[in-house]
């Protein structure tokens, strides 16, 4: 019997991303790493993500969550990510602190809805959406670490493309992510 040469393809890291109560700005910043996305795709493959449009997260190495938790669906998605991802990353101000959506935390939810759907400038005959398909909103927006355990935090509104690149390449290389002073900001 002749021995077959063994070639081992380096296993790509499987990465899932999602946006909860965020503005997709962090995902835009992720896309902002531009042509380096091709380099990134040599070492990672995407699972559930707005980029792939896969609806549910399977087993992954890294999960990246943008946005805080503002409704029941956010909690389901977040728990699915925690269950499936070895390493879970909170990306951006909203995931880490609640961010701009948390500005409503001291406004009554009903007052909020009235303002948005009834009294907003230019609105006529407004009505508050009540379709049963819509997720149940919470009275307050919460950072994701108040719901599940988070392994890493990547602050910024959004984090710069450079910060995301450095963070992901450090993680992919098995290093503890370390960002320069310029790359860490809360806004």
């Amino acid at each position: 019997m002749t021995e077959q040469p063994i070639t081992i393809e380096p296993k790509k890291l499987r990465v899932a991303t999602c946006s909860l109560a965020g503005c997709f700005g962090c995902h835009m910043s992720l896309l902002d790493i531009d042509e380096k996305l091709f380099d990134l795709l040599k070492v990672v493959e995407f699972d559930r993500s707005p980029i792939t449009d896969i609806k549910h997260c399977g087993p992954c190495d890294i999960g990246i969550v943008e946005g805080g938790v503002c409704n029941a669906e956010n909690v389901h998605v977040l728990k699915e990510f925690r269950k499936n991802c070895k390493v879970l990353v909170a990306m951006g101000a909203c995931a880490i602190t609640g961010g701009v959506p948390a500005l409503r935390n001291n406004v009554d939810l009903w007052d909020c809805y009235q303002e948005v759907y009834h009294y907003g400038i230019g609105l006529e005959n407004g009505q508050i959406p009540n379709d049963p398909e819509l997720p149940l909103p919470f009275d307050r927006v919460h950072p994701i670490n108040e719901v599940v355990r988070i392994d890493y935090f990547l602050p910024g509104c959004p984090p710069s493309a450079d910060a995301i690149w450095k963070f992901l390449t450090d993680l992919a290389a098995g290093r503890e992510p370390k960002l320069d002073y310029d790359m860490v900001h809360y806004d």
Binding site: I96, G99, A102, L103, N105, N106, F153, P155, C157
Partner: protein
């Protein structure tokens, strides 16, 4: 006058004059000790505890403890910086510090100290306290969501402006910045936008109106330089009293 007495701070020899605090002597020697409620122009307050140092085995605030000849002080230790980071995190969750929507972002000392200490998350459960805004004054805004109770405005208004506009009312978690007028509104005081109290706030709690976001991102005070490298205005002239 040459300073004849010395103490060591993290092994470095720091000269000082009789009566100087550890903070004053360290600042004059160009050594940064993290702080928020301290300002060289005003009497020490000793409340934020960020400047806590190890003085010969005992912990104390560098801004309130006087330097003594031959004393050994430690500041940049892993344990002290971990405590400082935890204190800063608590300040963040106690208020509503939403940096992306704050005019002071980039020039804020609370944010800058957090950057300096490597704070990647506020970690603790957010309080999201209900605090109010006082926009009654034509030129000065009070945003209590961002107040850290350092009392710098209280000291500036009382000691420099001679107006005594501000105070801290309430106890414990209910402590809040109050205004010395019958209505409690800033508009009903003699506060002026040129007062020292209008510009001394380390966070975005007291702001001059119509000056928000004038400096673009990338050119703000702490965008590229750590607070340890940016001298606070007046730091070269330690308090004399």
């Amino acid at each position: 006058m040459t300073k004849t007495c010395t103490f060591t701070l993290d092994g470095k020899t720091i000269p000082f004059e009789e009566g100087e605090t550890i903070m004053e002597a360290a600042s004059a020697a160009g050594v940064y000790i993290p702080h928020l409620c301290h300002h060289p122009e005003f009497k020490p307050h000793g409340s934020c505890k960020l400047c806590t140092v190890n003085i010969g085995g005992r912990l104390g605030a560098a801004c309130t403890n006087r330097a003594a000849d031959g004393m050994k002080v430690e500041s940049e230790t892993e344990a002290l910086n971990a405590d400082r980071r935890a204190l800063t995190q608590m300040l963040f969750v106690e208020g509503n510090h939403i940096c992306p929507s704050c005019e002071k972002s980039g020039n804020c000392q609370l944010q800058a100290v957090a950057y300096h200490l490597g704070m990647m998350t506020p970690h603790f459960t957010h309080f999201y306290p209900a605090r109010d805004i006082d926009a009654s004054h034509p030129d000065v805004l009070i945003e209590r969501n961002r107040c850290i109770l350092c009392e710098l405005c209280v000291r500036a208004s009382r000691d420099v402006d001679g107006k005594n506009v501000f105070g801290i009312g309430g106890r414990g978690i209910k402590s809040r910045l109050i205004v010395n007028s019958a209505s409690g509104r800033l508009a009903d005081t003699n506060m002026s936008v040129t007062d020292r109290a209008a510009e001394v706030c380390p966070t975005g709690a007291i702001l001059r109106k119509r000056h928000g976001f004038t400096v673009p991102i990338g050119k703000r005070l702490y965008d590229h330089q750590s607070i340890a490298e940016v001298p606070v205005a007046g730091m070269k002239e330690p308090r004399r009293d």
